[in-house]
Symmetry: C2
Subunit: 139 residues, 2 copies
Amino acid sequence: MNFDIAMERLKSEGFKRTPSREAILRLLEREDRYLSAGDVRKALADQHPKMSQDTVYRNLSSFSEMKILEETELGGERKFRMHCNRHGHHHHFICMECGRTEELDVCPMEQVSRALPSFVIDDHKFEVYGQCPDCRTAG
Amino acid sequence: MNFDIAMERLKSEGFKRTPSREAILRLLEREDRYLSAGDVRKALADQHPKMSQDTVYRNLSSFSEMKILEETELGGERKFRMHCNRHGHHHHFICMECGRTEELDVCPMEQVSRALPSFVIDDHKFEVYGQCPDCRTAG
DNA sequence: TTTCCAATTCGGAATGACTACGATTTACTC
DNA sequence: GAGTAAATCGTAGTCATTCCGAATTGGAAA
Ligand SMILES: [Mn+2]
Ligand SMILES: [Mn+2]
Ligand SMILES: [Zn+2]
Ligand SMILES: [Zn+2]
């Protein structure tokens, strides 16, 4: 997903176009990795020193709910990234140093569904953590 | 894992046998599901009203580090359960109503390792969420 | 263009999980 | 039974997140 498509999505769902929303989405498009609300505030501190934490949290949550962003929880913190372009279901490798992700095609849920016929399955989480090639070289 | 094996493990690693530790481990053995620190405090409020949160958190963390407990993070909270008896690596279905778990044999990490040869893989998380047969019937 | 108002943001206080820490108590060794 | 390090207690602090009332603003309607 890119900035323009995200803004269209907002408009089509009746959200207003505000400087805060533009700045947050532009940042996430540019960074292309998982950022916490605090990361976002820091990154926008120069251009938008008055943006309140309420605004950051509220918008990140809204964007996540409407699938503009992908969200996970790492180290007790919510983290957000621009939703991948790829169609359909996928998971991520996440670099614990820089937050960058690599998309994974693997998903074992068909097997699991078959193994648990009497359970209601609502959701699942599959994430792989480590060091990306760039961070590995740099380290 | 059961209470007695857990106490042996504590002893062998030089930890003292205290009423707090016994109560926490007995509770987790009996419940056999994921509990938060708050859940533990509430459950022990009758028998051990003076047990401080420091004691609960410190011991749950210690037990988790020494693999007496399994730990996960759900809804922004750390949760703990007695480590399964099963040998070797596995994952869980977790009932979002009652916290009970079902062990899963499926793990897609061999495929992932093959797909990401230039990445350092340190860890992964695979969890399935939903409703267990008991809660389904009860609901 | 101006008016209008619900949506949005702001600033700051409240919440809740978790951690830190000095004082006190306790489990184990001798 | 005395000594000592470990463990616990009580409480205060931290940090991410949420809440709330007041002020501002985007964009539709006049
Ligand atoms: Mn993705
Ligand atoms: Mn297990
Ligand atoms: Zn990296
Ligand atoms: Zn259940």
